[in-house]
Every structure is written in structure tokens, then in C-alpha cells.
């Protein structure tokens, strides 16, 4: 059957919308420092703000944007003009997070933290998914099948974060990145900066560094696309969890929240769909 005609569980994409928008709304609500930090720390406008001539607005307006963003996400979750409110969330999130990321930007660099990119990318694709409006408080379950290509677009968007990291490593350093010495050096640097003794112990074991570097590249460049294969999704998910836990433990690079949390919304949707929607269909 033509890939673009293949269907999946009818309400899957609508359910994904609900789970993801609620998760993002909760994450934002629990982190109000996103509102105040840009006004307490040194701020340099991100490159796109400079290009568009966007200057920093005052904190009161930032609180308003924050409140509106959470409201838009919650309205999207319950299905009130979902497509439009998600589109509005995209615009507000771009402004809100762009402002916050100004505190992580050095004057001499264009780089900023990237652990919020996936939230933006998943929000951007959602208004364009035809069945995203399924499951609405206004209309109930709509008779519009979710399609395989919609699911694959979500999974391939999640995969960009990992493929991007792996590709950049190979593009900059080639296979030499995985020679074990690079990971050893990264761990040593962490130890020197923060005194992380676990980084020190791992750095002292060259063989472990060599094996882990190779596994990192394999996971990021190849294995991540296992998300598209039926029997491998959960294996990849668990591997990603272990990967992020390890980078947090050994390198103080904490990506379980919000980055991995947002990836996890797809898997939360799988579980909820299996428990509450697929069972219903069987009974009927």
C-alpha cells in the first residue's frame, strides 16, 4: 500500500497532541525562572533576534507571553481550535524561549543551549498534521484516520536531535572522534571544572572510553532510526534513556528534562493509546 495512504490507530495523532501540549505546559509552569532569568543575568540577543531587530521587552510583558503560551497549550490540549492555538504556541514559544536563551549566549558566539529545540520542532509540525484535531472537547472523536506518515514525521523529528549531534561529530572530527581519547579528554575537562569524581574514574579507563565513544556514534547516527521499526522502538527508547542518564551522571549534562521528556511524549502516547483506545475497539 502507498506509504501516504497507510493508516494507524485512529486517534493516535490527536492523543499525541494532548500528551505533548500538556507536558510542555506543565514543564513551563514548573519553571517560572524562564521568565525572570533574562532580566537577572547578562543577556545577549540570539542571532535571529538581532537579524529581525527584536530587542528585549520588559519583564511584565514576558509574564504575559508566558501566561498566554501556557493558556494556548492547554486550549490546544482540550481541542479548542487546536490547530490555531498550536500555531499560536509556536510563535509565542519562539519569542519566549528566544528571549530566555539570550542568557546562555556569549558575545562572541552564535551558539546557545539546544535542549529546548525539540519542543519547538514538535510544536511546529503539529498544525500541519491533518488528524491532529482528532479528540476534541468540542467535537469528540473525529472520523479522520491518523496516517502512518504523520507518525513517521514525529519520529523523524525526534531523531533529528540525535542524528544532528552524531553528524556534527563526524563532520568536524571524522571517525577520530571515536578514538577513545576524545571522550577521555571531555571527561577530564568535566573533572577539572566541576570535580565530578565519576568523570575521573571513567576517564581513567581508556578501553571504556573507546567502547562508549563508538556506541555513542552508532546510537546517534544509525540506531536512532530504529524508532521507525516496529520491534525496535522500545529498545531505542531505553537506550536513549540510558544515554541521557549517563551523560548526566558522568558529565553533568542534564538532558532528561526537558529534552528527553519531550521525546518521551511519543511513548506515553503509545501506552495510553494501547490501554484506552485499542482495547475499546476490540470490545466493540
Amino acid at each position: 500500500m502507498n506509504f501516504f495512504k497507510q493508516t494507524i490507530s485512529k486517534n493516535f495523532i490527536g492523543l499525541f497532541r494532548i500528551v505533548t501540549t500538556i507536558t510542555i505546559a506543565i514543564h513551563l509552569a514548573l519553571n517560572s525562572h524562564y521568565v525572570t532569568a533574562p532580566y537577572q543575568l547578562k543577556w545577549n540577543p540570539i542571532t535571529l533576534f538581532e537579524f529581525l531587530g527584536i530587542t528585549q521587552w520588559n519583564q511584565n510583558l514576558n509574564w504575559f507571553i508566558y501566561g498566554a503560551l501556557i493558556l494556548f497549550l492547554l486550549l490546544s490540549a482540550i481541542g479548542v481550535f487546536a490547530r490555531w492555538f498550536i500555531a499560536g504556541s509556536v510563535f509565542l514559544f519562539f519569542l519566549f524561549m528566544g528571549n530566555y536563551l539570550g542568557i546562555s549566549k556569549s558575545l562572541y558566539s552564535t551558539s546557545v543551549w539546544h535542549n529546548h529545540n525539540l519542543i519547538f520542532m514538535l510544536l511546529v509540525i503539529m498544525p500541519f498534521l491533518p488528524s491532529v484535531t482528532n479528540l476534541s472537547i468540542l467535537k469528540g472523536s473525529i472520523e479522520k484516520n491518523s496516517k502512518r506518515w504523520e507518525e513517521y514525521l514525529i519520529l523523524l523529528t525526534i531523531a533529528t536531535a540525535y542524528f544532528g549531534a552524531g553528524y556534527c561529530k563526524l563532520a568536524v572530527s571524522g571517525i577520530e572522534w571515536a578514538n577513545g581519547y576524545t571522550l577521555q579528554a571531555i571527561l577530564l575537562k568535566k573533572y577539572l571544572l566541576t570535580g565530578n569524581i565519576y568523570a575521573k574514574y571513567l576517564a581513567s579507563n581508556y578501553t571504556a572510553c573507546f567502547v562508549l565513544s563508538g556506541l555513542t556514534l552508532l546510537l546517534e547516527c544509525v540506531f536512532i532510526f530504529g524508532l521507525l521499526l516496529k520491534g525496535w522502538k522500545w529498545v531505542v527508547f531505553i537506550s536513549l534513556f540510558i544515554f541521557h542518564w549517563s551523560t548526566g551522571f558522568f558529565m553533568d549534562v542534564h538532558f532528561l528534562n526537558p529534552h528527553f521528556l519531550i521525546c518521551s511524549t511519543y511513548f506515553m502516547t503509545l501506552i495510553i493509546d494501547r490501554l484506552f483506545f485499542q482495547e475499546k475497539r476490540t470490545r466493540v
Binding site: F4, K42, I46, T47, L48, F94, M97, G98, L101, S104, S106, Y108, S109, T110, S111, V112, W113, H114, N117, F120, M121, V124, I125, F128, L129, P130, K147, W149, Y152, L153, L156, T157, T160, A161, F163, G164, A165, Y167, C168, K169, V172, S173, G174, E176, W177, N179, Y181, T182, A185, I186, L188, K189, Y191, L192, L193, T194, G195, K200, A203, S204
Partner: protein, 150 residues
């Protein structure tokens, strides 16, 4: 007939959405576009040699007391961020910017709390790995500049 035409257009729209987004996201990766909201996945991309690793940190030197380093995280300043800013400014030989970065730490209330009642010297130090033997790592500390904090 009209419905059939609409259906045909819809098919193409779906393909356009699918491939369009993939081209946008993966194209940004291939082209290394690293500005928000696109990727900045290019962290930890450089290959390093362990013996060439060095970092910049601050140390508090007080007469009669042990010199204290690795305190930046304790006062809410990212050690990683401090190191990358100082590395960049020293690489560009911008001593004024280096002084500004260090003095910005002095303005933090938690630093003032840490260094209160202490005629301290604040040392900008360069830490480098000297040797690794079994699980013992020996570190070399080199003072780059001394700042008075009264």
C-alpha cells in the same frame, strides 16, 4: 470530479508537508545552521587529546588558609560557561574582556558571602592534566592573573 481533484491535491499536500519538514530539519543539520530555533547540536564535536586539555577556573587565596577552587558552581555560576568565556577572551587576547568576566563574578551576592571578612586574592588559574596513572590524575595549576578583592 471536483472531489477527485481535491483528493489528488490533498495527496500532494501531504507529501509536501512530509518531505518539506524533513528537508528543513535535516537540511539545517547538513548545512550546519546553528542558530535558534534550528540546531546547535554541534557541541562536543571536536576531537581532543587528553594531554592538551586545560580549563580556566577561579581560586580564592587567603593568607593562612588553603586556596579554594571549584567554587563557581556553588555560587550559582556555570563553571563550563565561565571557562568557555575566559578561553574565548584569552584566545582573542582581549585582557579587558577577561577582567570584565572575572569582575562580574565579584558582583554576585553569593560570592560576596563566600569571600566576606577576607582580604582575599582571587586567582585566575589554568588547570591542566599532568599525568594519569591508574586512577590517579595529577593536575598542574598555573596562575594566569591575580585580582584583589577587598
Amino acid at each position: 470530479m471536483v472531489q477527485e481533484q481535491r483528493f489528488n491535491i490533498l495527496k500532494h499536500v501531504e507529501k509536501f508537508i512530509f518531505f518539506g519538514f524533513l528537508l528543513l530539519f535535516y537540511g539545517a543539520i547538513i548545512l550546519r545552521i546553528e542558530h535558534w530555533p534550528f540546531t546547535d547540536w554541534g557541541v562536543f564535536t571536536y576531537s581532543y587529546k587528553p594531554e592538551q586539555v586545560f580549563v580556566f577556573d577561579l581560586a580564592l587565596k587567603q593568607i593562612g588558609h588553603e586556596t579554594k577552587d571549584q567554587f563557581l558552581e556553588k555560587i550559582g555560576i556555570s563553571a563550563v560557561g565561565f571557562n568557555s568565556q575566559v578561553t574565548r577572551s584569552l584566545y582573542k587576547k582581549n585582557q579587558r574582556e577577561t577582567d570584565r568576566i572575572v569582575r562580574a563574578v565579584f558582583d554576585q551576592p553569593k560570592f560576596r558571602e563566600l569571600a566576606k571578612n577576607c582580604p582575599c586574592e582571587v586567582l585566575l588559574i589554568k588547570k591542566k592534566v599532568e599525568s594519569i596513572e591508574a586512577s590517579k590524575i595529577s593536575i598542574n595549576h598555573e596562575v594566569v592573573k591575580t585580582y584583589e578583592f577587598l
